[in-house]
């Protein structure tokens, strides 16, 4: 039995089945990311003055990652266009570049995550606040590359100075703190504050979408490529559907980048 409307559009919707399906799925994705963006806005608007970190992230690295994703969107659509012109070799080239871009994006994002997980804040028993990257930590001593921050203007203000990406960037120095003098120590992981919590939630979920999209594109490109010989129109439609998902993922990043890195 043949499944209808895998190639030809239905009269009532004007779309073939897979395209209708992906748009319904993307509608649910818009609601998911929309809810998280709304959470971000509510958290930020509700934060006390000076307590919401700005410029905590590395803008040049974020910019490179944005360029990587824009490039991948161009190659995914050029690959689809190549299939429409019956040029499978060129399609394969473009989609391979798309997958490499996906790996590049995830690699750079992992580096950013590593940077945040090795970035520590230490509060000592006498109330001093130190901020910087962890060099050494044992039973007796913690060594950071950073400096003491002035938390009187709000903790976030000091954090922006210490992160090294903000307008008040200062050179880092090595600080040794005895473990017995430490009241609180923690890294900039999701549990650090509401900003890092929403940052890791949004970018983590987005990163999973990038990995998922790359897996689907890779499946269609390699193990699923046999369909090109038996049913080329349906295969081209599959590529279009995966491209629609990829564009959604990239479009989410186009909003995430300015919101998290610049504002």
């Amino acid at each position: 039995m043949d499944i209808p409307y895998t190639v030809q559009p239905r009269r009532d919707t004007g779309l073939y089945n897979a395209k209708l399906g992906i748009w319904l799925f993307l509608a649910s994705e818009v609601m998911l990311f929309g809810a998280l963006f709304s959470s971000y806005i509510m958290l930020r608007v509700g934060a006390d003055i000076g307590e919401w970190p700005q410029r905590l992230l590395n803008v040049p690295i974020g910019t490179v990652n944005t360029l990587v994703l824009i490039t991948s969107s161009v190659t995914v659509v050029l690959g689809w266009a190549a299939l429409k012109q019956n040029n499978f070799a060129r399609y394969r080239l473009y989609q391979t570049i798309t997958i490499l871009c996906a790996f590049g994006f995830v690699g750079i994002k992992s580096y950013e995550y590593y940077d945040k997980f090795t970035h520590y804040q230490v509060i000592t028993n006498d109330g001093k606040v130190f901020d910087g990257h962890l060099i050494k930590r044992d039973k007796e001593l913690v060594v950071l590359s950073g400096f003491e921050i002035d938390a009187s203007k709000g903790k976030a203000h000091g954090v922006m100075e210490a992160s090294g990406h903000g307008p008040n960037h200062k050179p880092h120095k090595e600080i040794e703190i005895k473990t017995s003098d430490i009241k609180k120590i923690g890294n900039y992981g999701p549990a650090h504050n509401t900003y890092t919590a929403i940052y890791f939630t949004l970018t983590g979920l987005h990163g999973l979408h990038v990995i998922g999209g790359a897996l689907v594109i890779g499946y269609i490109l390699w193990p699923g490529a046999g369909m090109w010989k038996t049913d080329p129109e349906r295969y081209t439609n599959r590529v279009e559907v995966s491209g629609l998902f990829w564009h959604f993922v990239d479009l989410v990043w186009i909003f995430l980048f300015p919101v998290l890195y610049l504002l």
Binding site: V77, K84, L251, I254, F257, P258
Partner: protein
């Protein structure tokens, strides 16, 4: 909506981001003492990329003239 239509939407959004980011980086170049060269470099690169995306958008529309928006 076809891949062609959403790609045009994406290129428009990316172009706006490029010009917006160029303005942001230029403002940072004027107002901040740290990383002045980097900010100016990012502003120029982003502005050029915005123009390049507009040119690419025109090329793309010509290339896929016969493909439906639906």
């Amino acid at each position: 909506m076809s891949l062609k239509a959403i790609h045009i939407l994406f290129i428009l959004a990316s172009t706006l981001l490029c010009f917006g980011f160029a303005a942001w980086a230029y403002q940072a170049y004027l107002n901040e003492e740290a990383s002045r060269d980097l900010n100016l470099g990012m502003a120029i690169t982003s502005g050029v990329l915005g123009v390049a995306l507009l040119v690419y958008g025109r090329y793309f529309l010509k290339k896929l003239r016969d493909v439906s928006y639906l």
